[in-house]
Symmetry: C2
């Protein structure tokens, strides 16, 4: 696009007297876009520390780094909440191939799913049965499945505009595919990566064996979408091919880790607590920039942006960087347990855990009154193109706080690119745009400001 | 983000009987996201052909390729409209450095601005005067400027949410900086790249010497934003430094080129013409994927998506791939002239020339009645998160059609990343996301469908 006519694009802006809220929110956005710290913090987390799997050295470095950074902000209180976390390790890089005939092989990119057991030391080779899901698996039954590798190959639905909805329609294959297949005597599981794109990155993620005894657990890995297409096509031509894979991941003893918490004490209602957060742990393949380095640094910047713009919250505001969202949710559970034990009154919790992309809105998990209250602020966000105020879930880490009183919310960024990177080697810093990240921090800060200023509506039983 | 709770995010979708328009638009989106051709076409334009500067071999290959692709769609008519275009060539790569003292140099990335003259054969070395714009230049006057290189260093404003607005507030430096500086005896011009990010890519773009006689024209180049920061800092420490640059670009004779046009004849009102388009030429540094390969392939797919979904337009629908938007607008002018000469009745024109990013809405250049008509369809786009229906400019190529009757519109994608890539070496295919591109094509197709179905409101003088 060239310059002629561009100037004409921006005529006719109506001007009107600005409200205090409009002025404040503009100041927050200006500060985020001209003196934001989120991007620098993310650069350090991603490029100096890297992937932060629970229990890893990197996760511990991230705890120390973010604690130190929060310390430097002059908050009223910064502390670590101890939490024991599972420690699963990937081991040496996984390896896999298709074998059309003995000696004729095609290697394909795979990665172990988080929580999976290893293959036997020399790897595992077997015939393959492709299924679209648990129902098809059950229909085929033990006679077809026994001794085979089950290949779950139901793709994400590309016609859903919200890609998280596509994800939620597929992720059962990854999460419980191995447990389901083991029941019918499968020896291993290969799952199509949760990715809308065709590419060569396998995407890891959590899985569970449910109640399956240790002896019956079978190894499970994700295959790249291109690999899945190749495997599926090859199977159609030659159902007799074998698949080989080798992985030596293992589950070790739980280790000590921490949630990182920083706090500004409320000036007027210090016992009413608002929290904003993301999760500090990530998977190990990339550097966890979008999932969820972005949410952590945005949350940290919320407190700093309020300070920079001279706003002192009436209510206590905490940033919580949760540990172990990816494979345990221990941090989220421990935080909620602590809150209950101390009888703390949490009134609002906001999580950013959907990537550092252009913010589109918020999903709000609250009663109708509070949903309407927040939706009523939508016009204040319109100049910033934040337009989605929808009822819905918030975030995994703040979920355990849910008690029918606290209002929960989640930042909803544009979701189109999220699953290109999710849990894969290419979830890296260069795929985060500085402005998009900062716009998210500004939207979050603005919402926290409004919640603090106007308060949420307490449940009737307390009020009346 | 993990899976627990994600399923909870998407509860409570209200269902209701769908209107014909809702069903049709859903079919268009489904087709775009499952059998879109835009991404494949763009892959060819970008990776097989590359940058398509007017008058280049690549521009000609792009004309032939898109004509052939349109031919394969079974349209009623596909043709080339001849148009003579300027041919400016960059020559060998530019070279520049800062010289603190004789022999102590720091090279910096620059590129000639489109339309600039060359430096002398051995390059040009002079002291530098940094200014923020034409006003400061005039205030300094000939005594300060004469014999110097003028360095225009006013950055894009990061606080504007619409980055095109930031661009329009800066681009005068690039477009007319050389003409202004020459009036005061400057020997060359260096312009900070139109880029919100700090990086090492110089961004080219069109410039004009206005009425300046040929003998008085001075060479002009863009410097990367990092280079501009370095130059500015160095000048503050040592105003006596010299800047050297060398470029051997030149303006050649005009050459023959073409607009590429494809048409579906209207079933009911064939004399009412709607057009959808982008521009086929690009700058030469990258492959022109966002600017404006994306708009071309989206426009081509509009006609194909209507066919795929079984919709026969009542009005005549043309796709127009304009030549020479970047440095001449000859294609846009030639098309409008042809339309006037043939007395064709254009009722609607839609351009996509703001990158292949997630579509956010449309800007509409029309009278109040037609603006309200189109804004009235906004609810139909809400499920697709297309929410901005604003009054404003449309696109450079369709601008010449403006006659007070035709309704003009422009696709408005998310603008945060556009100027990271605009006119630079990194405007390349891998920075276009397939789904984002397809969502744009679907939004455009849906708007064309609605305009065709309901018609625009003819001007009163004809009606009454």
């Amino acid at each position: 696009m060239r310059i002629l006519l561009i100037i004409l694009l921006f005529v006719g802006f109506a001007s009107h007297a600005q409200s205090e809220d409009e002025i404040k929110i503009k100041a927050i956005y200006d500060a985020a876009l001209t003196q934001g710290k989120a991007y620098d913090w993310l650069n350090h987390l991603s490029n100096q520390i890297g992937g932060r799997l629970s229990g890893s050295v990197q996760a511990q470095l991230a705890v120390e780094y973010t604690r130190d950074q929060l310390d430097s902000l002059g908050l009223d209180n910064v502390w670590l909440q101890p939490v024991m976390v599972p420690k699963w390790v990937r081991g040496t890089p996984e390896y896999a191939y298709l074998e059309s005939k003995p000696g004729i092989t095609n290697s394909v990119p795979i990665c172990a799913l988080g929580g999976s057991v290893a293959t036997p030391l020399g790897g595992l080779k077997a015939n393959v049965v492709e299924v679209k899901g648990a129902e098809e698996l059950a229909a085929l039954g033990r006679e077809t499945i026994e001794g085979k590798i089950v290949f779950f190959n139901r793709p994400m639905d590309p016609t859903l505009i919200n890609t998280f909805q596509s994800y939620s329609g597929c992720v059962d294959q990854r999460y419980s595919g191995a447990a389901e297949a083991a029941k019918f005597g499968a020896v291993g599981v290969i799952v199509r990566s949760m990715n809308l794109r065709l590419d060569d990155f396998p995407h890891t993620g959590s899985m569970s064996y449910g109640e399956l005894p240790v002896a019956e657990r079978i190894p499970a890995a994700a295959i790249s979408t291109n690999g899945a297409e190749l495997l599926s096509t090859t199977l159609k031509l030659n159902p007799g091919i074998k698949f080989y894979f080798k992985q030596n991941c293992q589950q070790l003893e739980d280790v000590q880790s921490f949630n990182v918490i920083g706090e500004i004490r409320g000036t007027t209602y210090p016992n009413e607590i608002m929290i904003v957060g993301g999760h500090l742990d990530s998977w190990d393949l990339g550097d966890g920039s979008h999932d969820d380095g972005a949410g952590c640094v945005q949350s940290m910047d919320v407190l700093r942006l309020l300070k920079v713009t001279g706003y002192k919250p009436k209510r206590t505001l905490r940033v919580v960087l949760f540990m172990n969202e990816e494979n345990g949710l221990r941090g989220g559970n421990a935080y909620a347990e602590m809150a209950r034990k101390k009888n703390e009154n949490h009134v609002f919790a906001l999580e950013s855990d959907a990537g550092g992309f252009t913010p589109r809105g918020f999903s709000i998990d609250a009663n109708a009154e509070n949903f309407q209250l927040i939706k009523g602020w939508q016009a204040l966000f319109e100049p910033y193109l934040v337009h989605m105020f929808i009822k819905g879930g918030s975030g995994a880490d703040i979920g355990p706080l849910k008690n029918g009183e606290v209002v929960l919310a989640g930042l909803r960024p544009d979701s189109q690119r999220y699953f290109d990177h999710h849990h894969a080697e290419n979830d890296t810093f260069e795929h985060v745009n500085k402005r998009e990240l900062e716009l998210g921090a500004a939207a979050m800060t603005s919402l926290i400001y409004l919640v603090d200023k106007y308060g949420v509506i307490p449940p009737k039983k307390i009020k009346g």
